[in-house]
Amino acid sequence: MKSRDFVVRFAGEGGQGVVTSAEALARAAAQVGYHVYTFATFPSQILGGPTWTQVRISTNPVQSQGDSLDILVAFNRYAYDNHISELRPDGVVIYNSEEFDLGGESGRSFGMAVDQIAKEVNNARAANMVVIGGVAQLVDMPVKYLEDFVVKRFTRGRDEDAQIIESNIKALRAGAEVARKSGFQLGELEPPTPPKYDQLLIRGNEALALGATAAGLNFYVGYPISPATTILVWMENNLPGKGRFVHQVSSEIEAITAILGAGYAGARSMTATAGPGFSLMSEGLGLAWMAEIPLVVIDVQRGGPATGLPTKTEQSDLLSALHPAHGDVKLPVIAPGTVEECFEASIYALNWAERYQGPVIVLSEMALAERSQNIRKPDLGAVKSERRKVYTGSNGYQRYEARELSEMPLPGGPGAYVANGSEHDGMGDTTHLPERHIRGTERRFGKLNLLNDGHYEAEHASSPIVVLPWGGSKGPAREAFNLLREQGVDIGWLYTMFLHPMPPKLLEILRKKELVIVPELNYQGQFSSILRGDGIRAESIRQYSGLPFKANELAVRLKARIKQHQERKVPA
């Protein structure tokens, strides 16, 4: 039987090679042209603790983590007990027989003495290759692909390269041999069709960081917090240079106010955080809005509120991203839905901040941040880097006098003013006049009209009922949508990562719909509540488990909701 897609989960204790096995398999598969998608959760502790990573490999582009497992690799008993329920009925378990023995407990399982085999090929560090060899054999993925990967990975111009390559290949073959002897077979994976263009295998957070760098980011500070820490670490390693500053600061309050100072002084500045840190940034974001200072904050959402679920995923910060601060404030929000869009979102965010002279929020989420995916290599030549309008006239400039966006003076240049968090007059001096507050408020909101260039996706958009996911729920929603269309369900697809301001044309389309269904990972149905405020008949399909949607489950819920809608339409 030919297959086009399989999902394998590696589960065990931190430090047992769970993550390295998954990553090596993903990289090897992507290298030869398969589409890959990883999904992981981590324990919130330094060493050990239950951990798992799953890899989905397909001949077609993949958009979600996969609903059920074809193969479970269990490194210990706890992992087996906790993950076996997600294995599909005819799936196969590979277990580490040095840790535990399933015996006849699970019909479709076999043990592998992983470390023992690795020792036999004289490379104790090749245990993950043993496992991968076994997995590849089960799905009939040619071991040659993996061998090519090993050669590429370990050719590092050192004397020991040949020995390491040889032992790793032996490990792969030994693992495959154990799997062959087990007699299990999960179909035959079709050969990949490598794309004609160059690709990257990259995580969401890395793509956010790379995009920002490509757009000319030159000031980054941050404070460690899961799941945004990897952006800080990436920046510390990669951004420093002449005219580019990176630093770990003492709190999120310091982070937001420092990038505000930098933005005021002319830098393209950014920080990244997660829910608790984002809460601390509220007042600083209000100041950036009020004093009209460009800056970007990435919020990598995790489960909330308070400390919440630091290593799980949720889409529950949308309302606070739009309205982080007290007073009349509504910030621009860009929520990428794929790893590719992460790269683009950073660029848009920095450009929007410069263009309208104010703060922009990028809303990512844990599942997207830590996911590795193969993407088309971005074309750096196509990256636009916008610069704010800088004042170059003479002194005595009224920086805030106009009713719309005006040129911004920079320290050292002409037009000294006070960037003021109190309501202010043209020079930035504090005022309490009602007329000034009316004008100032209208000016600040009016500038949002400069950000109407977001794009959107529309398919079967003439259908009266559409699905409109946001952020990381895009992938599962897309797969659910495809399933429903295959089943002949009349449903349209609309999507944008520009949640505020939304592309005006998209709003226009949405207002005409009978029903807009919004799958989202929060209790309140945050996005649909906003859409209803915009005159759109929107309803949410909600999930708040800390885990992403599964495509099949979502398809069932969408279908039920559509049916309910149609029944209501029929007069009794």
Binding site: F219, K242, F245, G261, A265, S269
Partner: protein, 287 residues
């Protein structure tokens, strides 16, 4: 605010110490601009919230750039300005409430970084703008609107606190002698590193300490503010600690030491690394 602005209706009370501090800062900024032949626009004044923060709107003559931000966050804002544009001269103006209560958490990091900025702190021992509540420097037992039965916390000792944190230039004065104060502010701005000029700036409405600071011979009141001795060596941290253990308030430079600034150390890091281009940063991910 270079000219009288009829819309700006904030006024300090008559006799407020902040008038003298403003004058001193104007002298110091002008002198610095002339000495270094740099336009006034290369100065950025970051103001806190409170009576003292309004100084940024009340400066007369040629105008520096200004930020009047949110309560307690002058230091991290100044940090952002300075590290984005190291060539700018960054001055924080704030009061004891803004700088030492809500903003106290930011002092340590700047001291440890030896961030090359200057802070001019107006200490009046009270929250004036909110009409007379106790502040970190209000004395034990003092009755204010928020301590109707007397303050039950010890007052903090700002100068000792700065010294302990590693602030590399500490000066102290009171607001009545703008020329002298201007000289201290100028020295602080010329110092490479984190400098604080802590000024007793009396609140004539809620905490009028002029007489205590200057003394009154007729009433037999000895002045609290005492110039540092002629043979005092401000580079000696032990002498500084000894000076600060006295019950009086020193006038002059209390402490100064030289060590690399944040900018120096960052520049040092840059000499040891290879700068990455976006193209080279994509390489590790290439398939």
């Amino acid at each position: 605010m270079s000219a009288k602005n009829p819309e700006y209706d904030f006024k300090w009370c008559p006799g407020c110490g902040d008038f003298g501090v403003r004058r001193a800062l104007e002298f110091a900024l002008t002198a610095r601009s002339q000495k270094h032949e740099k336009p006034m626009s290369t100065n950025v004044v970051v103001a806190g919230i409170g009576c003292s923060g309004n100084l940024v709107h009340l400066l007369e003559g040629e105008q520096p750039f200004g930020i009047h931000g949110i309560h307690g966050r002058t230091l991290p804002i100044a940090f952002g300005v300075k590290m984005a544009r190291p060539e700018l001269n960054v001055v924080v103006v704030a009061g004891d409430g803004d700088f030492l209560s809500i903003g106290a958490e930011h002092l340590g990091p700047q001291a440890q970084r030896n961030l090359d900025i200057t802070c001019v702190i107006m200490d009046n021992g009270v929250y004036g703008l909110t009409k007379g509540q106790s502040s970190p420097t209000t004395s034990l037992g003092v009755k204010t609107s928020s301590t109707p039965f007397g303050k039950i916390e010890d007052s903090m000792k700002p100068l000792s606190h700065y010294l302990e944190l590693g602030v590399s230039f500490i000066a102290s004065h009171y607001s009545s002698k703008p020329k002298e104060l201007a000289s201290l502010i100028e020295q602080a701005m010329d110092h490479r590193g984190f400098s604080i000029v802590h000024v007793q700036s009396p609140c004539t409405t809620y905490n009028d300490t002029y007489e205590l600071l200057k003394g009154n011979k007729a009433k037999g009141i000895e002045p609290m503010a005492v110039p540092v001795p002629d043979d005092y060596d401000p580079t000696d941290i032990n002498q500084a600690a000894d000076l600060l253990s006295r019950p009086t308030i020193p006038v002059g430079v209390v402490y100064k030491s030289t060590r690399p600034t944040m900018s120096d150390r960052y520049a040092q890091v840059l000499t040891g690394i290879k700068e990455r281009t976006p193209e080279s940063l994509m390489r590790p991910y290439a398939l």
